[in-house]
Structure formats: structure tokens, C-alpha cells
Subunit: 336 residues, 4 copies
């Protein structure tokens, strides 16, 4: 197998998903090596650099891209497989942010309280040991947790005439903040604009479910993806596949509606691909499914609903795209 | 008083709020006469023209504009006073629409039900009698209701790099669908982009609170506005003022958060302008306020919170803009 | 007409809706004169008496009753018409309360903020002038507003084996906190337990829509009601009727679901009583209806959806009960 | 170690949590062997027995109990450790139910759609192979999934004067429907009434996250628990502990508020027991935590927030109760 590998090291970031001049054009099947900056644009490096002081709205949550995929037209599906997501530095940061997070008044859950204290935590990243290390700020406590790199923000240009800030997840993807977008995952997006216009950012060394404080262990990443195109099939909400499971996402508020979207899409997907009656699919997913919450802090909240392929009549979905891209990923890794 | 009157009869509609080429440039103080098409683009004329068949996504809910207001810069406030909103035809329509409305499964409150039946109601509009007449479709019942024209969609370009479909209300205004935007109201918007980029559409001959079916008595309108600019003051969410009351809007989901936003903004507005302690303002609004719901059907829901000026220490807000524009409106009417 | 008048001046209050020993048994058609204590049990009299210090949970929001209505059986409807609701004192109070209100973190919208400051406002009540007078606590500002007495809490025993705190509104009524329950209103409840077990409390001299601070202008009341029984018809959610309008209530969270319940019930009510097709009823209510929000602060939120009877094919609903009880009310007032 | 073992095989079920006559009185430390009936009271045995026809409201979701724990007083915490949860039969059932489930209109998410089709699925339960087997109803597809028995409903009498249907989860526990209440888990409840009044029911052979269809793989269970009492410490929301993790639950609507409650309680718990600053605890849980959703179908929705003990400064919480009860469980199993 001969791989088509392109390196995209541009630091000319984008801050929205929508129609804009692509920084790269690739053919389906291309491997793209890229660098993504963290959600603070690299400006927050420790306790002295408070996000509200060093970041300037709307220049938050930079994404690398957009990438124009040749042949991608509205009604198609773009597939993105993550070959590598590797922290670019030996440190990472997390923080509170005024009026942002699940346990604080925000601009939409508007209350008369003052914002919580703004504070930054700096983590050590040990790529050899595959750990990140937390340090308490008000005591000497430290603890290491597994490194589990992921991208919080992955998406394409939205439909209609819309452009959306990278901070917001919706049907086009965006800031879903789910740990399921890790190495080995294939993510599917319905194409709304010619070329799809894929962009990626907001790397996390790890993240808890819901991202309650509002930020994860934020890091710049060296990421490698392979892109594919599925012609003539539209994916209404972002879907994810890995070796074990298929998943649908939903992003809206209130949170039960995000759950509903993701379950509704997963059940319809299972019914269609497995030729199961819709209520039979509902019953099966209801007992076999898992539903890890993505974020409960962004302008829309995200749920992921998933079921293991071993429980389904049909093990191969989306025309076998995940298997095909996994093979390219294996070939790429062999070459390194 | 010499009025500066401009006629904008362009039918080159826009379908989003965002940065785009203005169709008109005016100075603050200008009266603008305009025509707005109905939310269906005029394509739905009766029971035979089902919206899902005659309308093409995303060409829904056309707005007239955008209008560039000279001198408007981010951080300022644009004021729009409605001098006239008058139905352009002697009929209007309303309808169900698949997966749209408060009492049906939608794309975000996703369920396994089929959509409700799509159906169109045609209303008679009697501008002399000032009535609209409802006709039941499955029986001979008819009833007339007061004509109370309003605009469902009024807004400016959003902040950041965003562009939003006209169907969605948010901090930039948009499809708030509140009957409070009627003749005699002044609406205030924070300016996010140079020129403000005001656009108006979605005329309703009348609308119930919440717009439960998803559409109002939809009509093309001949509308006259006068525009003003308040330099150096930013309005975080659209505000409305009429001779009796001041109002704040909030648009998000869930609906309690839309209520929170509108109350939070109104209370802060009262406290600031009336120099009341914030809890004193909260107490006063809590007992004197009203809170008519706008819509519970659009991608964001809208609440309006209001208090009568007679209960406030300070009767004049926003630098007296409403009084000034009302005087221009009176002058304009005298000239007709 | 000979009136059957009973005086219930017991101060043996109840703190829940459920099966319990009635304090009074009446026949349908009986006029009941009663005294209700305020939501603080009369313990809060001014700024020095903070609710969290002088009130003891769960002895909050006392209701007078329950009243056993002879002949009332599950599946029937109890009708309660308010003949008089008159403040018992020349003062009333309102307050913040820790972790209670729409613009503060609560026990369910749980956040890491400290509670807002607890503060009490004392109002003057002028029954001759029909006003209540607000006094700011941090400045000298005062203003009078119309006296508009209402009961926040009216309900019957819930279904199943449940007992609910008086603070919570649900399908059995309870703490709906809607200003629509004023003099001249008839309220309908589905009977869940033998005798219905009606109880009333939480008088307000007036209240804004949503009760944003968490309390209204709280007052003890001298209240006169007349009770009726509609056999064989069950009312799924509390309904209200006055001379102009019919209304349905819904109490749940999130707030859009409270709106949905109240609209769904109103539209089904209109369709059934007026023999309109259900979508024709939906269309009519959508354009003619109003929807004043009740509370956005209690354990469930309450919406009221209403339509004026003049727009309906059938002007007389619920077997003409409202007219019949209004006639008794008129007779009672004549006798005074 | 001498075990105090009591067998409670009463089939005199209860249908609410509240003050009622206990069926058993035990001392802390007692092992109780019990039988629980399924949520349908055993009346649904296959496709021919539709729940809405064979079950009678409010006799749904029977619980075994209540058990009075000697010495338990308001302000204490009751601990319940699950030694065994074992299906009592070789079959189990699941079903749709009219107006119940996450993807259908309900009595509170009220819409104008007809209910989804009511249908029953019968599962084979193989206790040796530790599997349950699903059978599609409209095709020949079958698949086995791991048996993972749990109790959907566990709770104590609520506070105040309330009694709650067993179908509703809230601060007293109840129908939380989380798979985390499995063998080996210790569940903590704040005591609101003398004796605590513990009751257990609604066994599931397994359940997906969210219980989207509204029912799990429902089964009668032979269950063994050991009960303990922690004096002088109150648990505001049910907490769960197993060998690896500590968890807090929250049950309310909308779903983000259930998430908030569970995160808020977990973070305060971590901060208090580990003597971490509250924002340090927030940061740690935000990166290390998981948050499996319980149910999105009951009258309140349930979230569980958890963190592994290995990440905490203090590994022993709640006075070491879990370890102590696990030791009793081990002793009990040895004796069998």
C-alpha cells in the first residue's frame, strides 16, 4: 500500500466552522499530519496567566483547517480516522473561566452571583509513562492519571448560510468534547458545503465525562488523520466508530434533548443497517447501549450513545470505511 | 422637523444574520420604508400549497436587509423604532410544518413518532375592520380576531465570526417571535459588526404567546422604521421599549434559561438606570413585572421580561431614545 | 337563593397535600369563609425576621384544610370559585431565601456559589386605596402598585399513594403561584381521593409573572370560596375559568414541558368542548391564546395557557359551573 | 464473625416511599434475604400480556419493605450493601409502555402524537452462562448479552410529610435506575424518618444507560443485603460506593440539573473527606470523573457522578462502612 501523506503545519488558525478559504486541499484517502494549538491558543501556561486576561474573545479555541476534501458535495459523508493524537509539549493546563462551566452561573443560565474564582492548574505530561499529573493549588496533593489524548473540537462547515464559533457543538460537529474521539476512532460528518471543510482543534490529554469545570487537560497536539469520503450517504449528526462500537452524537440543550438526538440517530442507524424493525432496534439499544455524556458546559451540551458491534446483526457499517481507514493507519504506523 | 426618508423596496432577501453586503446604507435618524415577505417567501397561499413542498431549505424566513447604519461600531447600540407595520395583502396563512412546533417531535426533541399532519390555514385580513378571520378546516367555524401586526424576526449581525440562520433567535435578535415588536415599539440591539447590519422579516398579523403550532398568521408587510444609534453603550440582549414599559429578551433553551436571561438583563437594567441596589431591583421587578413568552418552537426559545416605567425611579432610559424616535414617528404619520 | 355558609377559622394548618383527616366536611354548593396564613406562617414581619431563622422546615407554606367534599370520588372534578380574597393585615412581606429563586443556585440547579444575601421587604397594604407599597431597602425609593390578591397554593390530594409538600405544584394543583387564581376565578381539580381534600394557602397581595425572587407580596388572607362537584368528569391538570377566559395549567420542569402540558390540555379541552378537529383547535389557540408564566422558582415550574371564550364555538364549558358559582358569589356579596 | 441473618419473604409489597408500617425491624449489621417482584408485579410474561392491560395504576413497581432500622433517626445515614442480586426465574421481560420512555411523548413532554405501539419482549435468562438473550419480534435475530443484575428502585422514606410513588427518584432514592446498584455496591441514604424505612424493588437483569425504551430486562430477584447505620452524618443525595469508586446521584429535570446535583455532591464529598480546597476538588473530578446516566424516562431523570478512589488523597470514606459491609458479605458467601 502506498500512502499519500501531507503535512499541514500551518499556524494560521480558524475560529469558526463555515465557508472560508481552505488551508489545504486533499483527495480522499490522504493521510494528513497536523499540529493543533490548545483552546487558549497557547497563551495560558500556568497560574499567572489567567485566561480572561491573556485570551481575547472571539480568538478562542483555534482549529487547524479547514481542509477541503476533493469531491465532497452536500449529501455525502466525510470520514476522519484518527491515527495519532500526541501531546506536543510536556505540560498542559486547565482552568476555571468566568461564567463558564456546569456548576456556575453562565451567560445563559444567568444568575445574580459573581463568577467563581478564576484559577489555572498546570499538569505534567509524561508521554513515556503515558500519564498526566495533577497538582492541587491549595495543598501539596498530586496524583497521576492515564494519558488519554482526544480532540474536543472536530467538525465541518454547517448547513445553510451558517457559520458557528468553534466553541459550539451542533449537527456539523464542533466542540463536542467527547473522549470517544481518540486514537483509533473514525468520525463521520454529513457534508453541507462543497469540500466539507474539515477542521480540528482543542486537544485534551484527558477529560472527565461532562467536563464539569469547563476545560479539560488542554494541550497542543501533533495529530495524524486519514480522510475518506462516502458518496451519496448523508450523516445527520456526527457518528463515531471504533473497533468495538458504533456511536451517534447529539448536541443541544436541555441535556435530555442531546440524549434524545443521539439515541434517535443510533436506533435509526441500527435499524437501517441491521434491517431490524425500529422498535426491535430500540429494545436492543435500550438494553445493550451505553451513553457517555460529552460536555455539559458548552453553548450546546453533547451526549454520545453507543452500542457494541458484537450485539448487532450487521457488524460492518458505513460501507466498511472504519476497517479500510484502520488498515491505512496500521500501514502509516508501520512506516514510522 | 425635516425627515430623512428612504424607500427600500428590494426583493433581494437575505436568509441569515451575519457579515454580508448591505442593501442600504443610512445615517442615524433615517426613516426607512420597506417591504418584507412572509416566512414562506410568499409561496404558501392556501391549503394546496404545503410548506414542505413549496419551500426549499435553507431559503426560509427571508429578511429584508441588511441595512448598514453609518457610524455603528461594535460596542454601540442600534435603536429601531417601528412607525408602521401594515399587512401588504388581504390574506395571510398559517400552517403546521413537519417536525416543527411545541407539541410535536422535532429534530432536537427527537422521538420515534411520525410528524403531525401538514396543513395550511388561510386567514382573511381586513385592514379597515382591523381583524383577521380564522376558518376551521374540518368544520364551518369561523371567528375574527384583532389585527395586531408585528415582526417575528428583527436582528443584527452576531458577534465573533458567526452567521446565523434567520430562523434562530439569540443575543443578536433574530426570530424572537414576540408580539411586543409591534407599531410603537423601539428595539435596541448591541452592535457586533461595523454598520450593525439590521434586517427585518417574518411579519405576523397576530400571534399567540409561544406560537405553539410553529407559525403565526404569516403575512408580507409594508413596514416603516426609524433607526438611531447610541454610541458607547452596548446592549447585551435585545431590549424593547414602548410608551408604557421597558423589556428585555432572552433566547436559549431550556425555556427557564430564556426566562433567566431576560429577567437578569431587565433587573440589571433597572438597577443601573434607576440607581437601585440590585436586590431592591430584583424585588421590585419580581412583584411589578410581567413576562410574556415569545416562542417555544424555534431553535432557541424566547422570553420577554417587562416592567412598566411608572414603577421605576427613572422613567427615561437609553438616553431618551424612545421619546425621540416616537416624535419622528409622529411627524412621519402627520406627513402621510 | 338560600346560601349554605360555613366558617372555617381553624388555625390547625396542614403542610402537605395527601390523605389526611379533614378539618371540615361540606356538601357541594357550600360557601366557606376561611382564614389563610402567609407562606412564612406569619413569622416574618420585617427586615429583622429572616425566614431561614424564624421558619422551621418542613413547617413552611401552611394551607387551610383539607376540606372533604361530600360525594367527591376519584374520577370526578372539584370546582372552587373564589368569592373574596382579602388581606387580613395592613402589611405584607417578601424576601429572598437561601438557595431559592430563579436567579440563584438552588438545591437542584446546584452550583458552587454561596447563596444570595437573605433580605426581607415589608410592604404597606392599603385596602381602601387598593394598593401595596414597595420600599427599597438601600435607598429611599417607594412606589405603590395595585393590590391584586390571589392564592399561590390551591390543591387537592394527589393520586396513587402520594403526599406532596405544599411548596410543590403538580397535577393535583399545589403551589402553582399564578395570579390568575384571583377573585372571580373558578378552579377545577380532578378528584384523586374520596372527598377531594381541598386546601388553600399562600395568599399574595400581588405577584409578578414567574415570581423571580421566589416570594410574592406574602399575606394572610380572609378568603371566601364556594365549592361545587362535577360528577363523572375528570380534569387531568388544574383548569381555571373566569368571565372572559378558560385556562389550563401545567407544572413540571423544564419550563417548556410545563408550557407543553398547559397547551396540550387547553387544546384538547377546546377540541372536545367545541367539537373542533384537534389541529383546528391547535391553530386557533396558537393565534388567539395567551400563556402567562406562573412560577419559575418552585420544585416544579408552572405555566398557564388561556384563550378567551369569545373566540370559541362553545362559550359554556364544564357544564356551566362557572356561571352557577358566579351567581352564588353575587348572592353572597349582596348579603354582606 | 457471627452473622445475624433474617429472611424477609413477604409478598405484601409497597407502592410508595413514605411513612408506613414496616414489614421488618432489624438492628444495624443485619443481613436480610429478600424476594423482590418485577416492575410489572409479575403480570407481564410475554407478548400477549401488554402492561397497560394487565397492570393497574397505581399498583406498579412494587417494592419489598419497608424495613425499619433500629436506631435510625433523621440526620443519620443508612448504608445498604448488596451481597447478592440473583434473578428468581429463567425469563425476564421488557416492553414499551404508552406515553413512557425517552423517545415518545409522555404526560409531561406532552404532544399531539398517539403513543408508540405497545410491545413486549421476553428474554431468556441463563444463570449458569450468566447471559440474557434478546429475541427480535419482527425477525429471527437473537443475541446474548452479559447478565448484570441490579436494582432500579432502592430508597427510604422522604423528608417532610411527603410520600412518593416508587416510580419517581428523588433525594430519598427511589427509582434511580442506575446499573451501579449491583452486587458489591454499598448505597448510602440520608435518614428522614425514624427507622429510615428502606425498601427495594425493580430488579433488572441488565439495563442500558438511560433506559431509553422505559423498561430494562425486568425480573423478580432473590436479593441479599446487609444494612448499617452511620450516626450523626446526613447524606443529602444517595451515594454509592464499590471497591473502586465513590459516586453521587442526582435525580431531577432537566437532565443537566441531575448532572449538576450529582457533580456538586461528589465534589463537596471529595473536598470534605479529602480535605481538598473546593476548586481543587472540582478540577480533580473534572478530569478524573465519569458520569454514567441512570434514567432519562422516569418522572425525574437520574445522573451518577463517580471518581475512582485511587485518585483521591483519602481512600476510605464514610467511616470505612463499605469495607466493613464487604467483609460481612464475604462471610455470608462463605457460609453458603
Amino acid at each position: 500500500m502506498t500512502l499519500n501523506i501531507v503535512s499541514l503545519q500551518s499556524k494560521d488558525y480558524s475560529f469558526f466552522f463555515g465557508k472560508s478559504e481552505p488551508v489545504l486541499r486533499v483527495k480522499p484517502g490522504t493521510v494528513v499530519e497536523m499540529y493543533t494549538e490548545d483552546c487558549f491558543g497557547g497563551a495560558v501556561t500556568g497560574p499567572e496567566t489567567l485566561p480572561s486576561q491573556v485570551c481575547v474573545f472571539p480568538f478562542l479555541n483555534p482549529v487547524t483547517g479547514p481542509i477541503y476534501v476533493e469531491g465532497a458535495m452536500p449529501g455525502d459523508t466525510l470520514a476522519v480516522h484518527f491515527i495519532e493524537i500526541e501531546p506536543a509539549r510536556d505540560w498542559a493546563v486547565s482552568s476555571t473561566f468566568p461564567h463558564f462551566g456546569a456548576l456556575t452561573t453562565t451567560h445563559t443560565t444567568a444568575m445574580l452571583h459573581d463568577p467563581l474564582e478564576e484559577r489555572v492548574w498546570r499538569y505534567d505530561v509524561d508521554k513515556k509513562a503515558r500519564t498526566v499529573t495533577y497538582h492541587a493549588t491549595k495543598s501539596g496533593y498530586s496524583v497521576s492519571m492515564p494519558l488519554d489524548p482526544m480532540h474536543g473540537t472536530v467538525g465541518v462547515a454547517p448547513g445553510g448560510f451558517e457559520a458557528r464559533a468553534t466553541i459550539t457543538p451542533d449537527a456539523h460537529g464542533g466542540n463536542m468534547d467527547t473522549p470517544e474521539i481518540r486514537k483509533g476512532a473514525t468520525v463521520y460528518f454529513g457534508v453541507n458545503q462543497e469540500g466539507g471543510l474539515l477542521a480540528i482543534g482543542d486537544g485534551h490529554c484527558r477529560q472527565g465525562e461532562g467536563e464539569v469545570i469547563g476545560t479539560a487537560v488542554e494541550a497542543a497536539m501533533n495529530t495524524v488523520i486519514v480522510i475518506d469520503l462516502i458518496k451519496g450517504i448523508f450523516t445527520p449528526w456526527p457518528r463515531i466508530e471504533n473497533d468495538l462500537s458504533i456511536m451517534s452524537t447529539g448536541s443541544t440543550k436541555p441535556l435530555e434533548d442531546a440524549y434524545r438526538i443521539s439515541q434517535h440517530d443510533l436506533i435509526n442507524w441500527v435499524a437501517a443497517d441491521s434491517k431490524l424493525d425500529i422498535l426491535d432496534a430500540l429494545q436492543l439499544v435500550s438494553q445493550a447501549g451505553r451513553a457517555p455524556v460529552g460536555n455539559v458546559v458548552d453553548p450546546n451540551y453533547t451526549f454520545v450513545s453507543m452500542v457494541d458491534k458484537k450485539y448487532l446483526p450487521t457488524k460492518e457499517v458505513m460501507g466498511g470505511t472504519h476497517g479500510k481507514l484502520s488498515a491505512i493507519a496500521a500501514e502509516y504506523r508501520k512506516g514510522k
